[in-house]
């Protein structure tokens, strides 16, 4: 089964690759709106004997919303550029009494993840072979401003304020579905009238290591999936 499929792919791909290098494409900007569920690895923080996130909020991830903008500086055999994203997520639960039962007071964790990433999108499949999938990868720095809340204000424990910024690195692996094929006429009009080259639906896997590169303090890194909508112009 695999051999005929491989042969078919080769038959289709090799002549096209042999024809010439893909034509240089204009540098473009991609805007993404995405959402996902994020659960930090608090239990992996240095010195932590258990996971305070799970202890407080249960084994329930927080919903995050994220906005990303990418800009290419090379657009030929793929899309190579730089991207910046900013997200926000929060999770609330009841603060606990000494015996571990919920109190009448709320506590929360808020994060504002920011990422500065090198972006590579293999859009040759779509542009050369008209296969509407664009796999992509991102790698770069992450910054996680965070703060806690108890009873309506930032939680302070023995003079230690529950807020700060965690740094680190992260990567993303994703797959985007170029939606032009659904309505080629509309896609052409959007390109000609609004300058929007492509619309995408995408899903991606992210892994951030927001632990100040192993320094002491809370570990807000997480592996999580996000899904969203993007358009390239």
């Amino acid at each position: 089964m695999r051999k005929p499929l491989l042969a078919a792919v080769l038959v289709l791909a090799v002549p096209a690759l042999a024809e010439s290098e893909p034509k240089p494409l204009p540098n473009t900007t991609i805007l993404e709106l995405k959402m996902g569920f994020y659960q930090p690895r608090v239990g992996d923080s240095p010195g932590a004997t258990s996971d305070a996130y799970v202890q407080t909020f249960g084994n329930s991830a927080m919903l995050i919303g994220e906005f990303e903008v990418d800009r290419s500086f090379y657009h030929g055999y793929g899309y190579l550029g730089i991207g910046f994203s900013i997200a926000y997520g929060e999770k609330y639960a009841k603060a606990l009494l000494a015996d571990g039962t919920p109190s009448g007071e709320s506590t929360g964790l808020m994060v504002l993840p920011m990422r500065l990433m090198a972006v590579y999108r293999y859009d040759v499949l779509a542009h050369v072979f008209h296969i509407p999938f664009v796999p992509y990868a991102e790698l770069g720095f992450v910054s996680y401003p965070w703060w806690t809340n108890k009873g309506g204000s930032v939680e302070i424990v023995d003079g230690s304020k529950g807020s700060g910024v965690r740094w680190g690195w992260g990567f993303t692996l994703g797959l985007a579905l170029e939606m032009d094929f659904l309505n080629p006429t509309y896609a052409r009009e959007a390109r000609e009238d609004a300058g929007i080259y492509h619309f995408y639906l995408f899903g991606e896997f992210n892994d951030d290591f927001a632990n100040n590169f192993g320094a002491k303090g809370i570990n807000l890194g997480a592996a999580y999936f996000t899904f969203g909508l993007a358009f390239e112009f």
Binding site: V42, S45, P46, G47, A48, T49, S50, D51, A52, Y53, Q55, T56, F57, F73, I82, F84, A93, A95, L96, L97, A98, S103, G104, E105, T107, G108, L109, L112, M114, L116, F141, S143, P145, W146, W147, T148, N149, K150, G151, G152, V154, E155, V157, D158, S160, K161, G162, S163, G164, V165, R166, W167, N212, K216, G217, I218
Partner: protein, 319 residues
């Protein structure tokens, strides 16, 4: 069709645009033509017995007046003129002569003692007539009306009347509110709810709150007010800066439309602030270490600035 048109032409009609408005110490009531609008309420308790109630009327296009313009108090409905049959009798507090109104008088002021409300005459107090100062709750109406000529110049039109102002005397204390206390960390969250049902609840305009540390020696608690005037629409108050593990007594007071203040909630509700553990406390208690980094107030901008510098650097390198 023709008979209908003829009938319409023959029906005397008050000219459009004629209005009569009553204003009493900030309470406004307006009526246009023969329509009706919302009625406002002027509510006071016994503290106002000797007070003068000041007001004024404002009219437009009343130059075709046929009758005097009168303002009066009644225990019944207003109608187009003071009643001669009501018991207790209606009390006329103002009269504008026909000539004055017809000559273009558009507004004038009036006043009366609050104790002049005829409703006091309807009260009985152990077989004798009651007076302002007794525990009672009734509502009289302040009315105003004038009859105008119709389009043919005849005085057959209906009167136009101002929408009445409710004149309420309420000298009955409301019930104290229900106080619900939720212990928080060094704080108590207090919720005040009007007790009773129906008008007993809707009559409550605000709450007041007092609290005191419970004396350990059984002495008299020293209550202090907190929260000022607490709206019924936002009846949640948090008392801060308390000591965890100590008992505090909390009482509430209801304030009604006539500014009567209830007695305190009895018995006082006891609340004890308690230490709670938020996410960050749980993290530290689990062995987590403080980050040692600045608060987010400075951290977020610095992180953004750092990333912006990186972005600019990359962009310049491209250029």
């Amino acid at each position: 069709m023709r008979p209908l048109l003829a009938a319409l032409l023959l029906v005397p009609a008050v000219a459009f645009g004629q209005t009569l408005t009553l204003k009493v110490n900030g309470s406004t009531s307006t009526i246009t033509g023969t329509g009706s609008t919302t009625t406002s309420t002027y509510a006071k308790n016994a503290a106002s017995c000797n007070n003068t109630v000041a007001g004024n009327w404002v009219g437009t296009s009343l130059t075709t007046a046929c009758t005097t313009l009168q303002v009066w108090l009644t225990v019944d409905t207003c109608g187009s003129a003071p009643s001669t049959t009501n018991t207790p009798a209606d009390v006329v507090v103002y009269t504008a002569q026909v000539g004055a109104v017809a000559a273009g008088l558009t507004t004038d002021s009036f006043s009366f003692f609050f104790s002049a409300l005829p409703g006091f005459g309807a009260l009985t107090d152990g077989g004798t007539s009651a007076s302002c100062g007794d525990a009672a709750d009734f509502t009289d109406l302040l009315c105003a009306a004038v009859t105008l000529k119709d389009n043919t110049g005849a005085c057959t039109s209906s009167a136009i009347s101002a929408s009445p102002v409710n004149m309420r005397y309420d000298n009955i204390l409301p019930d104290p509110p229900v106080v619900t206390v939720t212990p928080l960390d060094s704080k108590l969250s207090v919720r005040l709810t009007a007790s009773g049902s129906g008008s007993a609840v809707t009559d409550i305009q605000s709450f007041q709150l007092q609290y005191a540390a419970e004396p350990t020696d059984g002495g008299t608690p020293s209550y202090a007010p907190y929260g000022g005037v607490i709206s019924v629409n936002n009846p949640n108050v948090t008392i801060p800066n308390l000591v965890n593990g100590e008992n505090y007594l909390v009482v509430g007071y209801s304030v009604d439309e006539a500014t009567n203040v209830s007695g305190p909630t009895t018995p006082a509700v006891v609340g004890q602030p308690v230490l709670t553990y938020g996410f960050y406390a749980n993290y530290l208690n689990d062995g987590g270490q403080p980050a040692g980094c600045g608060a987010v107030g400075g951290g977020a901008p610095s992180a953004l600035a750092f990333l912006s510098v990186l972005l600019l650097g990359v962009a310049r390198r491209r250029g």
